[in-house]
Symmetry: C2
Subunit: 432 residues, 2 copies
């Protein structure tokens, strides 16, 4: 068992549940459902994420958990979803030997916390068993604490929310075992040996067993220790092991549609679209000084009318004002209007605020720089030359998951009416 490069800081940075409700990118901890302090009611909780699959159903060579979604490996989104839940103390990821180095560099690159790595087995059950051993404290070299409750979750279900994790953990604490379920999408049939319909199952009486699941650590660890080789080799369902070997009838907890598992190529497309939607809920218009504030408000108005399903705010990036940081947590899209200056100073300032917020660690942040000019006064070529720094800055920013691009807006005579601007000249600045 190996520790990730950044395991278990005293104060995790991305913890949702420990923070105040306002200004959060994600729903805060549901106090009404679970009392004031979940940690004290739950006891110690750890998680095991089997990530040793080869993704054969995806039809691609890369295992699906390592497939890139918006240029970032899928598993990184799942880890982020788990680690922003404060009360999950350790997260053990099981990875095959050949992917261990790749996994280590993902943890490093995206700054994941509280992650430990264990070697995956040849099957899903063997991988989970290895993850549990890493937490059991009875193995040589184990550095982790044996938890009271352990969550088992798939590396390829990136949209798990704190609410369902908590409900499953509380149910497991009470009943020894619990798992998320969903209604069946298709009827399930049982084929005969010669490939004909033997019988079909009543959809109303069956459910799809999804993830996350959670168990008393002692229950599931005992089940795996007693488990037959046949079950380890051909079984897939942890709830079934707890039932068969420890006689625990798992509590089934209704899950949400976004628990779905990325299995096929179309699921990767869907995951990308869902992530894009999450980061497209809000646009923040940024101007550099108080003097330009009215321009910012005008653009804000136009955008609000044009994109009426999206929240639009505006703020001033002033040296004396710190309030821009209040917007950072909620917003992944920024439009920065520059009426006067062609310099890079303000843009660099915004980029460093964004970076400090650790916002780009979760999803890419889009910053569009709008530079206004009047080409009857300033020649186009000259204006472009003044803005050549955008290209270099965009290259730098991309490495930190900020996608910077520039728009040159020809406003002819007046900037008062953005909606009447007839030609927009877009300078392609995002480097390859």
């Amino acid at each position: 068992m190996e520790s990730g490069p950044c395991s278990r800081p005293a104060e995790p940075r991305h913890c949702v549940s420990g923070r105040a409700g306002a200004g959060l990118a994600f729903p805060a901890f549901p106090l009404s459902a679970a009392g004031a302090e979940p940690g004290s009611r739950i006891g110690t909780v750890a998680a095991v994420l089997p990530a040793g699959g080869c993704g054969e159903r995806m039809g691609v060579r890369t295992p699906k958990q390592f497939c890139r979604v918006l240029e970032r490996p899928l598993i990184s989104y799942t880890l982020q979803a788990m680690e922003r839940v404060c009360w999950i103390k350790d997260i053990v990821v099981t990875v095959t030997g050949e992917n261990m180095e790749a996994m280590r560099s993902i943890i490093q690159r995206y700054g994941h916390k509280r992650i430990s790595l264990a070697e995956a087995g040849a099957t899903r059950h063997r991988s989970i068993f290895n993850g549990l051993k890493a937490l059991a404290e009875d193995q040589p070299g184990c550095e982790l604490t044996r938890p009271e409750v352990v969550i088992i979750h798939d590396a390829v279900r990136p949209f798990v929310e704190e609410d369902i994790l908590l409900r499953v953990v509380l149910a497991a604490k009470e009943h020894g075992a619990a798992g998320a379920i969903r209604p069946l999408v298709s009827t399930v049939v049982s084929p005969s040996a010669d490939g004909h319909l033997d019988h079909s199952l009543d959809r109303a009486k069956h459910r799809a067993s999804e993830m996350p699941q959670a168990f008393h650590f002692d229950v599931i660890y005992e089940a795996y220790q007693k488990c037959s080789d046949f079950d380890l080799e051909f079984g897939t369902e942890c709830l079934q092991l707890a039932l068969k070997y420890c006689h625990r009838k798992a509590k089934l907890v209704e899950g949400t549609p976004d628990l779905w598992k990325v299995t096929y190529k179309q699921d990767l497309c869907a995951a990308e679209a869902m992530i894009k939607e999450k980061i497209s809920q809000e646009i923040c218009v940024v101007v550099n000084t108080k003097d330009e504030e009215s321009v910012g408000h005008l653009l804000e108005e136009v955008l609000r009318n044009e994109l009426n399903c999206i929240k639009v705010t505006s703020t001033v990036l002033d040296r004396t004002s710190g309030d821009i940081e209040n917007f950072i947590d909620q917003c992944y899209s920024f439009i920065c209007v520059n009426v006067v200056s062609s310099e890079s100073r303000e843009t660099r300032k915004l980029l460093s605020i964004l970076e400090e917020s650790s916002l780009p660690l979760l999803y890419p942040v889009v910053v569009v720089l709008v530079h206004c000019f009047d080409f009857t006064v300033v020649p186009l070529a000259q204006k472009m030359e003044n803005l050549v720094w955008i290209r270099e800055l965009a290259k730098e920013a991309k490495g930190r998951n900020v996608l910077l691009s520039g728009v040159l807006l020809n406003h002819s005579q007046t900037l008062k009416d953005f909606s009447s601007v007839s030609w927009t000249l877009v300078i392609s600045n995002i480097p390859d």
Copy 2:
């Protein structure tokens, strides 16, 4: 039962299976698998598509079959997928009374053929039964021919291919009933009355029953006629009815992953991404005259190197040459390079070729007009004025599902090296 506005032409326009193999947008009929002429082996085939669902699982008000994907209702893609199969004679769609008018205008707008409409019932089974009655010839006012085999397919499975339709129909002809199946993605569990796990099913011994399914018409019609009110109200599986009431054990046919059913919001995202992928497999570079051919080849080379997973071709839109039409069937993305002319004549010609090809009826076609200019010689404002027609033409074209946009390329001195062009000025021309 009502006939759609364009029902049953003598020679359907979009028929894939009847055409030569080369130049097809979709896989041609698999001759090796099914013999030279499927029609003669299959007998008469019709299809029933229940489209009366309310889409409650989608979490939106619009029933999912009418949700728009790339601005076109989902059901229109499914109808297109069915009607390009020549040997399906009639397609009966069952729609609720309140959506009948909307459905009729979809058929009109997208030029669907061989479609008849029937009123949906309160449940899926009642809707299918109504569709079958429309084909049974024993009902008053019926204008359709009673088929030998009937396909039942979902309106929300748009990616069905001719190959699986044929395999299911041939199996139904032999065994009386047949249906596509897929491996289970999740384990299926049976909950006890108090919401605990009672038992879980062996994944290896079960399959998900998907669509399409097919039946001897007499078998499934008899099953529905004998069917209990309870089954009509609460049942969902047609294969089960054929088994229960006509003792036909359906042949189960392994389907492909793209048979999946659009059920949740993420499925709509996935459908959109899949359609975009289908239309992004190839780019055709078009130049106006033989004189500009070398420029076209240069751009073709650059694109081929930059986008190495996409097929790139080039052609000349010459008055004397008709060979552009050979490219039309395979390609949804066109880049038209204009080195000299700023006129609209050539663009209008290309648009009318595209329209005649009926290509935009299936998916949107993207045409990017690249106009080259040297802003040290021609002022930007003057060049833009010369190209104002693009905006009007784009508005017209959009109504016919062609997305036209313009790019002004500043090439300074030479056009020989496209890859060295440092600034690309994009004119936003697509109207709202």
